[in-house]
């Protein structure tokens, strides 16, 4: 027994020594790697500066046809990506790496420097402007309407929403804030706001059909997109209630990039490329909404 424990002790020592060695080697090789990586990144930046090309990571969504989605070949497609590719062509000093992202992840990633430009019809708000840099040039224009199920003929305007349930998608969204403000100003209408997470999910659309929700506050392009893909499930009512602009969003200290991209957007608007892209992706909107 004693011998056994003695043996155990030497083995313990041996194992400890071995582990220390392994850790040491791992640590050293790790340092080697980091040094190498450092050199590599230095090389990259040096290359970048000698060629004068800076790499820029551009992100938009992947689930929002026709703004930003993935086509059947797995390519990022839609207005946002087409516009970004055109901006990239104009700017020789920048090379865009275009990636898809989740909405929940996008602004955080801009803040943490994982991406440089976020684009997904992002609207200005005081809280966002405190944290992010917005482009001066407008990227997308959306007209917001009162939207109801296609079979609903009772609702003609916001005043008709007595004791109604409306879906604001999620609490931090522009549309939710619209309902919040409206219901505060019109307490007599007793509007109940829910946040279903995604008012355009199957369940959200079904809720509008069977009357468990009454109305949405939605933009022309999104409503037309739903009609295009699902058939006539929705309709817009009356005149647009608001016009909202989408902007590119940057990290606070990325003014140089912002200026350059603003210049490029201006150029694309002047030479007609922007309009061509807008027509390419959004020309169906008026047609869809009028034939409701």
């Amino acid at each position: 027994m004693k011998k056994f424990f003695g043996k155990m002790k030497t083995i313990k020592k041996g194992v400890a020594l071995y582990l220390a060695m392994v850790c040491g080697i791992a640590f050293l090789s790790g340092c080697g790697n980091t040094a190498k990586e450092k050199a590599a990144t230095n090389d990259n930046t040096q290359n970048a500066t000698t060629k004068g090309v800076t790499k820029v990571k551009f992100a938009s969504g992947t689930i929002n046809w026709p703004f930003c989605f993935m086509d059947e070949n797995g390519e990022l497609s839609g207005f946002e990506y087409d516009l970004a590719r055109e901006v990239d062509k104009v700017l020789d000093q920048y090379e865009f790496e275009i990636v898809g992202s989740e909405w929940e992840d996008m602004l955080t990633s801009v803040k943490l420097g994982k991406i440089d430009i976020a684009a997904w019809t992002i609207k200005r708000s005081p809280e966002r402007e405190e944290n992010f840099l917005f482009s001066d040039e407008v990227e997308t224009v959306q007209k917001f309407y009162l939207t109801v199920g296609a079979n609903n003929n009772d609702i003609k305007s916001l005043e008709d929403l007595q004791d109604a349930t409306v879906d604001g998608s999620s609490t931090e969204e522009y549309i939710y804030k619209f309902w919040e403000k409206y219901s505060k100003e019109h307490p007599e209408q007793n509007i109940n706001i829910i946040a279903s997470g995604n008012c355009f999910s199957d369940a959200g659309i079904e809720a509008l059909q069977n009357g468990s929700t009454t109305a949405l506050f939605m933009d022309d392009i999104s409503v037309a997109g739903q009609i295009e893909k699902r058939g006539k499930v929705l309709k817009v009512v009356g005149e647009p209630l608001a016009e909202e602009y989408g902007y590119y969003v940057y990290n606070k200290d990325n003014t140089e990039l912002k200026e350059a991209v603003d210049g490029a957007l201006k150029e694309l608007k002047e030479n007609g490329v922007y309009d061509r892209l807008y027509d390419k992706w959004f020309s169906f909107v008026d047609e869809s909404l009028e034939t409701k």
Partner: protein, 231 residues
């Protein structure tokens, strides 16, 4: 109203999604291999009760087993680059999202598999080692001839179900918008406004592959008779 579910949509989604199945499998496989290597060291340290390192491993195990997958993933994705930049002055912020997912899985699985291996090794009664020493076997011989074969038998089922769990947990990569099977299903849903079909395809794929993994480990378990035949 268009119908929520169509078989056309279901079959149309299959090839689009299967293209991304290798991504999910690769994430699972790489995570498993690296996590197992880490787990071997963790188990070794725990079984041998190596001073200091044993405490370090204990801390690692307790933390990892106390953290939900999603939290580890978010911490690794958002916080690790910051940490690495602070310590090594290297910018890993822009690595592919899947790399962060793999790192998160490795950290988590390293702890779980480590415990599986430790439990397996410790399940072999000490008297067997003592008996081996008494007939003059060396420590190495004892471990490789007596302890290891029996502990492998114990570890196989747990390791298998752990792999199934890891494979299924790869779905949380959608939290950070990584593009694998579930990520692609989201995008197919977004492009067609039909979410049910792609999600059903994902469900079918996950069920089939999980069953295959289970069968594989059942087969391995039945083939691997050592140490069990006499019990």
């Amino acid at each position: 109203m268009s119908s929520y579910f169509t078989w056309e949509g279901f079959f149309a989604a299959i090839p689009l999604l299967l293209e991304y199945l290798p991504v999910t499998l690769r994430v699972t496989f790489i995570s498993l291999v690296v996590a197992t290597i880490i787990a071997v060291f963790v188990a070794l340290i725990r079984v041998r009760r190596v001073p200091v390192l044993n405490m370090v491993c204990k801390c690692y195990l307790h933390i990892m087993r106390g953290l939900p997958y999603v939290v580890i993933l978010l911490l690794v994705y958002y916080y690790l680059p910051f940490l690495v930049r602070k310590i090594f002055a290297v910018d890993i912020n822009r690595w592919d999202k899947l790399v962060f997912a793999v790192i998160a899985f490795i950290l988590h699985e390293g702890a779980y598999i480590g415990e599986i291996l430790r439990a397996a090794v410790e399940s072999v009664p000490k008297v067997q080692s003592e008996a081996a020493y008494s007939v003059g076997m060396s420590e190495m011989q004892t471990f490789f001839r007596i302890v290891l074969p029996q502990s492998v038998k114990v570890a196989i089922p747990a390791y298998g179900s752990n792999l199934v769990e890891l494979f299924q947990n790869t779905t949380i990569t959608f939290m950070i918008g990584a593009m694998d099977l579930i990520g692609r299903a989201n995008t197919v849903g977004g492009a067609t406004m039909h979410y049910i079909e792609p999600y059903l395809v994902v469900a079918v794929v996950y069920v089939i592959i999980s069953i295959l993994i289970e069968l594989l480990f059942k087969f391995l378990d039945s083939k691997y008779k050592f140490g069990a035949s006499t019990v």
